[in-house]
């Protein structure tokens, strides 16, 4: 089971006009694996992550989740129906949380499951309670997002994504917008997911977190994967000069 390809990216390339932001990237993530993508800003790491669920479609190449090609070329209507379907299996957490401010925490979590999975109100409420308990915010169920701290917002955002029972979770700099003292509570939730063997792809600037939680680390720069390997190798013994330079700046802090 564990050596089975779960998320596969083949020859991924993306360009805006003449600007190439991703160049021939290949990546295979196995079930239950946790992969960190690190690199300087503008390296293409967020773009790659956002290509996985078609938020930023690739110019060429393929993205697969198990045996389903996510970025299939289809006529518009079929394409929309297809991505709406596959996105239900791919949870995503954003830097700026993107909670729905007009809905309570409960509303945020239950909206998609009710609409897309036809859950009854009672079932959806139960689901919201479960997911909130998991991120330790049961008492906030009827609050509006504006009443929550950044860390709480991000935990609710994680609960919202988990409520769709995704097969894989994507984290796009989930703690970058947080005050330093709020980072840990979000990291704890992510660690907990790791212990439950959730497949995760994490774009992050936090080297310590990547080192302690991830099975593999990809270092990207200028649209290519410069180096990849287990955190022990990447962080302690990187081969590539660019990787070393990047890490020198980030680890010395």
């Amino acid at each position: 089971m564990s050596d089975q390809a779960f998320v596969t990216i083949k020859n991924a390339a993306k360009s805006y006009g003449t600007l190439e932001v991703l160049k021939d990237i290949n990546l295979t993530v196995q079930r239950g694996q946790i992969v960190a993508i690190i690199g300087p800003s503008g390296s293409g790491k967020s773009t790659l992550l956002r290509a996985i669920n078609e938020l930023d479609p690739l110019t060429s190449g393929e993205v697969w989740l198990e045996d389903v090609q996510i970025n299939k070329k289809l006529p518009h209507r079929q394409y929309e129906a297809h991505v709406n379907q596959v996105r239900q299996d791919i949870g995503m957490v954003f830097q700026h949380f993107n909670l729905f401010p007009h809905l309570t925490v409960r509303g945020n979590i239950t909206l998609a499951p009710r609409m897309l999975k036809g859950l009854s109100e009672a079932d959806a409420n139960k689901l919201a309670e479960e997911q909130l308990a998991k991120v330790g915010l049961s008492e906030k169920i009827d609050e509006y997002p504006s009443r929550l701290s950044g860390g709480q917002k991000q935990r609710v955002a994680i609960a919202r994504a988990l409520a769709m029972k995704p097969k894989v979770m994507l984290f796009d700099e989930a703690t970058s917008a947080l005050d330093p003292e709020l980072v840990e509570e979000v990291n704890l939730v992510m660690k907990q997911l790791a212990e439950e063997h959730m497949t995760m792809i994490i774009v992050t600037h936090e080297m310590d977190f990547a080192a302690s939680v991830c099975d593999r680390v990809l270092f990207m720069d200028q649209g290519v994967v410069v180096e990849e390997g287990p955190p022990s190798v990447i962080f302690q013994n990187p081969e590539n000069e660019r990787t070393r330079n990047f890490l020198r700046k980030h680890l010395s802090r």
């Binding site: 669920n53 938020l55 929309e80 709406n84 379907q85 996105r87 239900q88 791919i90 949870g91 995503m92 954003f94 700026h96 993107n98 909670l99 729905f100 401010p101 007009h102 909206l111 998609a112 609409m115 897309l116 955002a157 919202r160 994504a161 769709m164």
Partner: protein, 215 residues
């Protein structure tokens, strides 16, 4: 100032104010309908709809509302559109304010943070589900005030149907000036009534805006 004259004629002005109110309500309703359609077209995936809406907005905003009223009322019969002055006035003004409301509504929709759409789409919601459940409820709050500005303008704009003899406030003032030669009193009286209407509507908009903010 001839207060006695004012006391004698004011019932006619009250009646005229009622016509102005009816005009305003119908114009606003038509304008909102045009604005909603226009905004949907402006944001459409299909270029043809975007083009039609952009043309509508630029033609209407690029010409005086008075000319639009005249074209429909005086020019209409030439091309087989025969409307009484009230209907012609309402339609012309409604279509006119609709162009401004198109931009207001579109502006509110596009100013909802893009992250909201991304979050909803990422959960698997369709474009339309996202629009209906996530974007529009937030845009609706953002558009209350600017739509209030449009409505304020359209109430004052109803004076533009006076030249086609709709018996509203401005026309009524002019009519009484003809018989009394007291333009100061007559225009003052109609101006005052416009102000009352606008004040009440303004309070309503303010109330709506505050209520929308709390939730």
């Amino acid at each position: 100032m001839d207060t006695e004259l004012i006391l004698r004629v004011y019932p006619f002005f009250i009646e005229a104010a009622w016509v102005t109110i009816q005009l305003s309500v119908l114009t606003a309703a038509l304008g909102l309908a045009c604005g909603a359609l226009g905004a949907a077209a402006r944001l459409s995936r299909l270029a043809i709809f975007r083009w039609i809406a952009a043309t509508y907005v630029s033609v209407i905003r690029g010409t005086p509302a008075l000319i639009q009223v005249f074209i429909l009322y005086f020019g209409g019969p030439q091309v087989g559109i025969q409307l009484d002055s009230f209907a012609a006035g309402t339609i012309a003004l409604g279509v006119n304010i609709g162009a401004y409301m198109t931009e207001t509504i579109r502006g509110a929709i596009v100013s909802v943070d893009k992250g909201q759409t991304e979050a909803a789409r990422t959960l698997g919601m369709s474009r339309w589900q996202t629009m209906r459940k996530v974007v529009l409820p937030q845009a609706a709050r953002l558009m209350i005030r600017p739509l209030g500005v449009n409505i304020n303008a359209l109430i004052k704009g109803t004076a533009l149907v006076a030249p086609i003899s709709v018996v509203e406030l401005t026309y009524t003032a002019q009519r009484f000036i003809g018989s009394t030669y007291k333009p100061f009193e007559m225009f003052l009286l109609s101006g005052l009534l416009y102000m009352v209407i606008i004040y009440v509507v303004g309070q309503g908009i303010h109330w709506l805006d505050r209520r929308a903010r709390i939730t």
